[in-house]
């Protein structure tokens, strides 16, 4: 049972690697920061999900699976938050709206 | 409880308690250094009666545990450290000018004392790394007491100290990789002069020379020691610089194979003489008082380096005595000189040497302390410095082939005479009209004189001191 599962796990792993590659290409090629952020967070989270899935298939005991899932959730959370922060920081740099005091402190 | 451990524990415990109850009273530190001095003397007595002891920390057997070695020399160094802390503490408590009255100076100087005490006792290579790091950080914290103007010097000092520690650590890693033991006493009979050991010792020596500001790698010392508050620069020059020197001496004279020592000896001695001359020359030309005294530290360390180099070259036992007499005499003399320089600088209100014109009239006692300390640095009889030079010169003058090194000592003496008398000659000039806020503090000036009198007092017990130190095992 396990050997075909190991074979099968190659599929999500390769897919994950592909999405990582796509995200990186996006990072290098896209014109402005918003689209680059978009590429990175979307592609990498998906890539990570697939890699985690592949690894889960190869994992021996449930405890390892639980840890990997926890890692995946945390990565998704931090990825999303960071993307939000960067985007908002960039937006504030370009067009600081008057009412809210700017994100970056005055020097 | 071994008295040596008590001498180490007292300042450590005092520092923590002072921090805990946020007290800045000087009396705690002075009491701690006094108690530590008494414990050190007890340890000295115990060592002389029943020989040096080995303490295995944690009770594990030798290659695993860190070991403390309480020998006559380490007990003497403990007493010396406590004495210097006591003297400098008294001055720091009394002097109005130096920024140590109600600052963190007191707990930090206790930490400095504890780390130095543990350095003298330990024999473990990695333990020395952690202690040298602790020493460096405490010294940087103390230097930055002097406010923002000292931060640049403190930053450079910290970086170079970290780099030096990492050089040292790489050397220790290589030695551990090669021999599998961290204890220097065990290493002593395992070391062979192969390529790995030679490279490891080279890297370690570079690190330690950088930390002890020995000649080619000394550029960070003058700004750091001059920028620090008066009491701190006295501690730094008299003690902190000697820590890495102790490790260097321990490694080369006790651990390194003899033929490696014979190759390295002349290079060290040459660096020593170069230190004497070049640092002496820059001391003559620097316009600021405390920088002059700091350069004099670099110069005087040249004597110790010369003694170590010749010790490795010829293996003459007297050079051990000469080296450690220099360390003690220089410690006391430099402490007094820095305190006097700092006191004069703050009383006369200017950092320049030219402000010392007529100092014999305006700050007579501080100038007298400076002169007496300078006399010991030059090696005028009857001072501690003279004793050390007397013991150093004998092996140098034994055979005609050694005479060029004696010439080096002569040059060193003239160089130190030049920068000391540069100040003294100026001070006998007529004094300019006193500044409006000129109020000298005679008690503080007498306190600066105390270490200088001690270094000249060393001469009275000169014979017993030299004979005892010659008889002691190193």
């Amino acid at each position: 049972m396990t050997d075909w599962l190991a074979l099968l796990s190659w599929v999500p792993l390769l897919a994950g690697a592909f999405f990582f590659l796509a995200g990186t290409v996006g990072l290098l090629r896209f014109p402005d920061i918003y689209s680059r952020l978009h590429a990175i967070t979307k592609a990498d989270t998906l890539g990570l999900g697939l890699v985690t899935l592949g690894l889960i298939m190869r994992a021996e005991n449930w405890q390892a699976v639980a840890v990997m899932v926890l890692i995946w959730l945390l990565m998704m959370g931090s990825g999303a938050t960071t993307c939000q922060l960067l985007a908002r920081y960039q937006q504030d740099l370009e067009a600081p709206d008057a009412d809210k005091e700017p994100v970056h402190a005055r020097r | 409880m071994n008295p040596a451990l008590l001498s180490l524990l007292t300042p450590l415990a005092t520092a923590i308690l002072m921090l805990l109850c946020r007290s800045r009273a000087a009396v705690w530190t002075i009491a701690a250094s006094l108690l530590s001095l008494v414990a050190a003397i007890a340890a000295l007595y115990q060592v002389t009666t029943d020989g040096s002891q080995l303490i295995h920390l944690g009770g594990w057997e030798s290659p695993l545990a860190i070991r403390f070695r309480v020998t006559a020399l380490s007990a003497l160094l403990l007493a010396f450290t406590a004495l210097i802390h006591l003297l400098v503490g008294l001055y720091a408590a009394r002097s109005r000018h130096s920024q140590t009255r109600n600052t963190d100076y007191w707990p930090l100087s206790c930490f400095l004392h504890a780390s130095l005490a543990s350095l003298w006792l330990s024999t473990d290579l990695f333990n020395w790394y952690v202690i040298l790091e602790l020493l460096g950080l405490t010294a940087v914290a103390l230097v930055s007491l002097a406010g923002t103007k000292a931060h640049r010097a403190a930053f450079n000092y910290l970086l170079l100290s970290l780099a030096a520690s990492l050089c040292y650590l790489l050397g220790v890693a290589l030695l551990y990789g090669r021999y599998g033991v961290l204890d220097s006493l065990l290493l002593a009979d395992m070391l062979e002069a192969d390529h790995t050991t030679r490279t490891a010792l080279l890297v370690i020596t570079l690190g330690l020379m950088l930390k002890a500001a020995l000649w080619p790698l000394h550029l960070w010392l003058p700004p750091a020691h001059a920028g620090a508050p008066t009491a701190v620069s006295a501690l730094l020059s008299a003690l902190v610089v000697k820590g890495p020197l102790f490790v260097l001496w321990m490694l080369w004279s006790q651990v390194a194979p003899v033929e490696l020592g014979r190759q390295a000896g002349p290079a060290m001695a040459a660096a020593g003489v170069a230190a004497l001359v070049s640092a002496g020359w820059s001391a003559c030309r620097t316009p600021h008082i405390k920088t002059l005294v700091a350069y004099s530290t670099v110069a005087q360390l040249g004597y110790a380096l010369l003694a170590l180099g010749m010790l490795l070259r010829w293996g003459v036992r007297e050079l051990h005595v000469a080296l450690w007499l220099f360390v003690f005499a220089h410690g006391l003399a430099k402490a007094s000189m820095f305190l006097a320089a700092g006191e004069m600088q703050s009383t006369l209100g200017s950092k320049k040497v030219s402000a010392l014109r007529g100092a014999t009239q305006t700050v007579p006692v501080a100038m007298f302390a400076f002169a007496v300390a300078g006399g010991s640095l030059i090696g005028l009889p009857p001072s501690g410095g003279f004793l050390a030079k007397w013991v150093l010169l004998q092996p140098l003058l034994l055979e005609p082939s050694h005479w060029p090194w004696a010439l080096g000592v002569l040059l060193g003496t003239l160089a130190s005479a030049a920068y000391v008398f540069r100040v003294i000659a100026l001070s006998f000039d007529r004094a300019p009209p006193p500044r409006p806020d000129y109020n000298p503090d005679p008690v503080a000036q007498w306190l600066t004189l105390l270490p200088a009198l001690l270094v000249w007092g060393m001469a009275l017990g000169g014979e017993t001191l030299i004979l005892w130190m010659s008889g002691v095992a190193y």
Binding site: - | R22, L57, G58, D104, P107, V130, A200
Partner: protein, 301 residues
């Protein structure tokens, strides 16, 4: 080397060297700091690869986390001025090359060398009070090193106190950051506690736990949930000094009453080690937090 390992090691090694070169010679300080943090993570990976999980945990928490935060706060406070690139001239490259050869040839015979210490540690492991060898070495066989090291952390804090760091005002946090911070904080506490407890018989221990807690503390402090920890409040002082205080107390008592300096009485070593670890974790967490975000208000003598 088994088949695929050379590929992994090769890429990791080259990645490390490239990141280090980039960090030192980057065009802007910001880029240098980012490269450095990436280097920190790669180092954590290397320690894991070389079979040192304790180190991987410590490196990830300390190297990438705390140092990264510190770098960014320094960069943020001091302003990101342009970085004049050092012009590496040819001779400057020759010297490191020679040194590299010298050191490499020195290190060449080392992998075959054998050291008696690991077997001795294994032999004495059972009566050291803990079952994880690294923790046994850290807190029993070489406890004196650890005591000095904890006081190094304390001294660093004392040093920072003298600088009277100016407090850049903390911007009002966004709701998103508040939510994320509130989610992370309990998680760090749990992870910290777990690391501390597991330290006795698995990779983990005081330093890793303390750093994770410090990371949590910094996050909370930055989003304004954690009030400024004033040095004048005695609980903060007690927390900072706890590690060194307990360690010195244990050392003094064992030296005075027991058989010798840091010679734990038989049987009670596990309890003592746990006590010391707990205190060390608390003091490291507080000290690192103060080091990273400590402000003049808090550090006022």
């Amino acid at each position: 080397m088994p088949d695929a390992e050379w590929l992994f090691d090769g890429t990791l090694g080259i990645l490390l060297l490239v990141l280090a070169g980039a960090a030192l010679h980057a065009r802007s300080l910001y880029a240098a700091v980012v490269m450095f943090i990436a280097l920190g993570l790669m180092l954590a990976l290397t320690w894991a690869r070389l079979g040192a999980p304790d180190l991987a945990l410590a490196e990830a928490a300390i190297g990438a986390g705390v140092t990264g935060a510190l770098l960014f706060s320094t960069l943020y406070k001091a302003g990101m001025d342009r970085h004049k690139r050092a012009t590496p001239n040819r001779i400057a490259l020759l010297l490191p090359g020679l040194a590299f050869l010298l050191l490499l040839t020195a290190a060449w015979p080392l992998p075959e060398m054998h050291s008696p210490l690991p077997d001795q540690v294994m032999a004495h492991l059972k009566d050291s009070g803990v079952s994880h060898p690294v923790t046994a070495v850290l807190l029993n066989f070489r406890a004196w090193d650890t005591l000095l090291e904890v006081s190094v952390v304390l001294i660093a804090l004392l040093g920072v106190r003298q600088l009277y760091p100016s407090h850049g005002e903390v911007p009002t946090p966004w709701p998103l950051m508040l939510a994320w911070g509130r989610l992370l904080a309990p998680l760090t506490v749990i992870v910290g506690g777990y690391l501390l407890w597991r330290g006795t018989d698995a990779p983990g221990g005081a330093f890793q736990a303390g750093t994770v807690l410090a990371a949590g503390g910094v996050a909370l402090r930055l989003i304004g949930v954690l009030p400024p920890l004033g040095w004048h409040q005695w609980p903060v002082r007690l927390l900072v000094l706890a590690g060194v205080l307990v360690f010195v107390a244990v050392a003094a008592l064992t030296a005075w009453l027991g058989q010798g300096w840091l010679h734990y009485p038989t049987g009670s070593s596990k309890v003592l080690i746990l006590l010391i670890e707990l205190m060390a974790t608390a003091s490291i967490a507080t000290t690192l937090t103060l080091l990273v975000v400590g402000e003049k208000r808090e550090l006022r003598p």
